[in-house]
Amino acid sequence: MKKQQLLVISGPIANLTERLGYTLDVLHWRTNINECLQQAAVDMNIEVISQHCNDTATLIDQLQQSGQVDGILINTGDLALENQSLCRALRAVTVPCIEVFISHFSDDETCQHRSIVASECVGVIGGFGNHSYVLGLAGLANLLLSQSSVSRH
């Protein structure tokens, strides 16, 4: 049976963990995200492609070129709050997508619940540090499994 191939896209901030970690939350940023993802991929017997980028255009390119993957996990960082282009790109994606946040988005009172990207995703997971990504992968893998079992019947 073919392994599920999941794309993990991290936007601005997410690739600056080491630099920003100490000012944000040292516990959550201690472990490198990519190591977490690869370990989770081995545990779940799935294939994970992890990409980081800071600009909207590259994020949109990555989403548009994601035709071969089975699902997408996305942490858009600050772009979640404002970026309509990203929303439209996500709307055009045909595979299920889950949005993840490392910190709890409700911790920040000024921008809580303003993720406009969330409405284009199947679900949202936030607040569990790097483990948010692992939980997102598990949720996505489970969703794909349930979809394939429904289509088989």
């Binding site: 409700s106 619940h113 199947v122 679900g123 949202v124 997971i125 607040g127 483990h131 969703l143």
Partner: protein, 192 residues
């Protein structure tokens, strides 16, 4: 040979597994292992699952969903306590009673999520890690559902993943308290 004798409940409602084994010298030894106990709390209208707006919430009943969560929790050594109420007061009372009794709460407060300050204060006062869960993606729905007054007092939020969201929330709680749960195995079967 290790023999599982029985499950019993000690004072403070802390369930323990009692194991008995014979040592190499023939002594009969007993081992106690305090289990990780978590409450799965569901709020108003979740008793109507399977009948209500199935296009949004799916066709599984609350009992079906609880059975799936319980099956997924079993290999983790987690004991679950399920509670559902349509009454805000009963939910507040139950959450208050969880203090000192449990290790965490998975909470789907239903519509109370969006306006119940009483529930928020109960969560804040209980001093337990609480994970907020929603079956549907609340951000895809009406704008009044985008606001969660309980979110700031929870450790995190999972929405849109159905029954799987509850299991992921359990996993998040275990990770949160990892230092207190050395027996926890990360392998987990998720409901489909």
């Amino acid at each position: 040979m290790l023999v599982w004798l029985m499950t019993l409940t000690l004072p403070l409602n802390k369930p323990v597994l009692k194991f008995a084994a014979k040592s190499s010298h023939g002594y009969f030894l007993e081992y106690y292992c305090v289990q990780y106990q978590v409450a799965i709390v569901n709020g108003p209208n979740l008793n109507m699952l399977g009948q209500r707006e199935v296009s949004i919430y799916g066709c599984k009943t609350l009992n079906d969903m609880n059975a799936e969560i319980a099956a997924a929790a079993k290999p983790l050594g987690v004991t679950l306590e399920f509670f559902q109420s349509n009454s805000e007061g009963e939910l507040v009372t139950y959450i208050q009673q969880c203090r000192c009794q449990l290790k965490g709460i998975v909470l789907n407060a239903g519509a109370y999520t969006h306006y119940s300050i009483a529930l928020r204060d109960a969560v804040s006062a209980v001093q337990l890690p609480v994970v907020e869960v929603h079956i549907s993606n609340i951000f895809k729905r009406e704008s009044f559902r985008h606001i969660s007054v309980i979110a700031p007092v929870c450790i995190g939020q999972i929405c849109g993943l159905g029954a799987c969201g509850y299991v992921l929330a359990l996993r998040a709680l275990l990770k949160h308290n990892a230092s207190e749960t050395p027996m926890v195995n990360e392998q987990l079967e998720l409901p489909h």
